[in-house]
């Protein structure tokens, strides 16, 4: 650090030759000149470093008293830039580099999508429609307005945002289930059942309940009617509304799993090979010559690391590392642990937004297979909007 500061500070190192050079050092210190790194060279000469502002004064004093001075070294930013003054090609190159860097960093060069269930192509098409694409200028995009417009236009999207990391754009999307039809809130609609079951609970937000609790409903039956009847004695008036509410159905599910007893598992042999690929934008340039995969049976892991200028500023340049771990196929027997199997089957149901109330598990072995069955009583939300 000290060396860096020293190289930026402008100073001149000179040699002074003459009788009794201590006189010069005394004069310099009395005149408050900043002298440093004084070194004896010979019986009548010293080398010293002075600030560039004091150099002329010391030189004049030396000449007046019959001492000889000679510049040994010039150091500092001023001298360095002076040395580059005549190099017009270098200056033009530096200016061009800054210009190109500015142009390149002001545009989107790579894009990625972060979403649980969205179709990548579909989202990129939407983004392209609003100008978010590779090569687009970031300044030209009013992301806040684009987000609002997209949410308004595409009802299946409940969240849309673009995060910029240098010249990388990350689109973050949250999408409704694509099978659910979303009806414009200004239009009257009913809520119909999307599955069979028994009504466990019904909460009506707007409209009229069409079913009662403990009533059996089939798929397509109306659960909440999109109309409200106002009774003013003899005058009855019916108004169409956009039905809303929450209906919970009691449903039954049955899972059948067939698991082979003999399994083939891969065991790591310990041999591992890595292959690197240089990523520029979306293009990959392999840094290896082998085309074939290195092992017959392997476990492949893929990791991409992008270069960053600083935190958050990602360059369109990265290094992808594929690591292949050799596996040896080995026969193994499935451990038919009833409790574990039951839990696994139960969890597979829970992952589908289903609340399991109770369940029964049975397991039989048939030849080379284990047959497992799980019957569960579940509670799940039902109802989709349907235009009247």
């Amino acid at each position: 650090m000290f060396d860096v500061i020293k190289s930026i500070r402008t100073s001149v190192t000179l040699s002074v030759t003459g009788p009794y050079v201590e006189k010069i050092i005394n004069m310099a210190s009395l005149s408050s000149f900043g002298i440093s790194d004084v070194e004896r060279l010979g019986c009548d000469s010293v080398r010293l470093t002075v600030a560039v502002d004091d150099y002329r004064k010391i030189r004049d004093f030396c000449r007046k008293n019959g001492y000889k001075t000679k510049i040994v070294q010039k150091r500092g930013l001023v001298f360095k830039t002076k040395a580059l003054r005549g190099r017009y090609g270098l200056l033009a190159g530096a200016a061009f580099f800054v210009f190109v860097l500015y142009i390149l960093t002001s545009r989107i060069w790579t894009m990625s999508l972060t979403s649980d269930n969205a179709d990548e192509g579909y989202i990129y098409d939407i983004a392209r429609e609003y100008g978010i694409e590779v090569g687009a200028r970031k300044k030209d995009l009013d992301i806040r307005q684009i987000n609002l417009d997209i949410i308004k236009k595409y009802h299946e999207l409940i969240y849309f945002n673009v995060n910029f990391y240098g010249c990388h754009a990350e689109i973050v999307v949250k999408q409704r289930g694509r099978d659910i039809e979303v009806v414009d809130e200004s239009l009257p609609c009913d809520i119909v059942s999307d599955k069979d079951g028994i009504v466990d609970r019904i909460l009506v937000g707007d409209g009229t309940a069409a079913v009662a609790e403990n009533q059996t409903v089939l798929k397509g039956d109306t659960l909440i009617l999109g109309e409200i009847t106002y009774d003013y004695g003899e005058d009855k008036r019916t108004v169409d509304v956009h039905a809303s509410g929450e209906v919970t159905l009691k449903t039954w599910k049955r899972l059948h799993w067939c698991i082979p007893k003999d399994l083939t598992v891969g065991e790591k042999t310990g041999r591992e090979t890595k292959r690197y690929t240089l990523i520029v934008g979306k293009q990959g340039f392999p840094l290896y010559f082998l085309e074939k995969n290195p092992y017959v049976c392997y476990d492949k892991r893929y990791k991409v690391s992008y270069f960053t200028l600083f935190e958050g500023a990602r360059l369109p340049l990265g290094l992808a590392c594929e690591s292949f771990a050799e596996l040896e196929p080995k026969k193994a027997e499935y451990q038919a642990d009833g409790e574990r199997l039951c839990n696994e089957m139960r969890e597979s149901l829970l992952s589908k937004d289903v609340d399991v109330v109770s369940g029964s598990f049975s397991k039989t072995e048939k030849g080379a297979f284990i047959l497992a069955e799980y019957e569960a009583e579940c509670l799940e939300k039902a109802g989709v909007e349907k235009v009247r």
């Binding site: 050092i25 005394n26 310099a28 002298i35 004084v38």
Partner: protein
């Protein structure tokens, strides 16, 4: 009356030179009046009524300003002797 009531080092008031030694690689001398002799193995400084001599080898003056001098190199000894020198 008691001496040194304020407990200030007497040298601060009288302007006596102060010598600081940091190991054998660095010497800081404050309150010197000028340089008498500068060689690779000896540096002599004038300080009030005596002369401070720094002995060693590869000695160099790291920096020098009014009354203050920093000496680098391998220091063997620092001694003082009475006497006036011409600066």
């Amino acid at each position: 009356m008691k001496d040194n009531v304020l407990e200030i080092p007497s040298g601060m008031v009288t302007g006596a030179p102060r010598v600081e030694l940091w190991g054998n690689r660095y010497v800081l001398i404050e309150g010197c009046k000028g340089l008498l002799r500068f060689e690779k193995d000896i540096i002599e400084l004038k300080a009030r009524s005596f002369v401070i001599a720094v002995h060693g080898f590869e000695l160099e003056i790291k920096s020098m300003s009014r009354g203050c001098i920093e000496i680098g190199g391998t220091v063997l000894s620092v001694d003082m002797r009475a006497g006036e020198g011409d600066v």
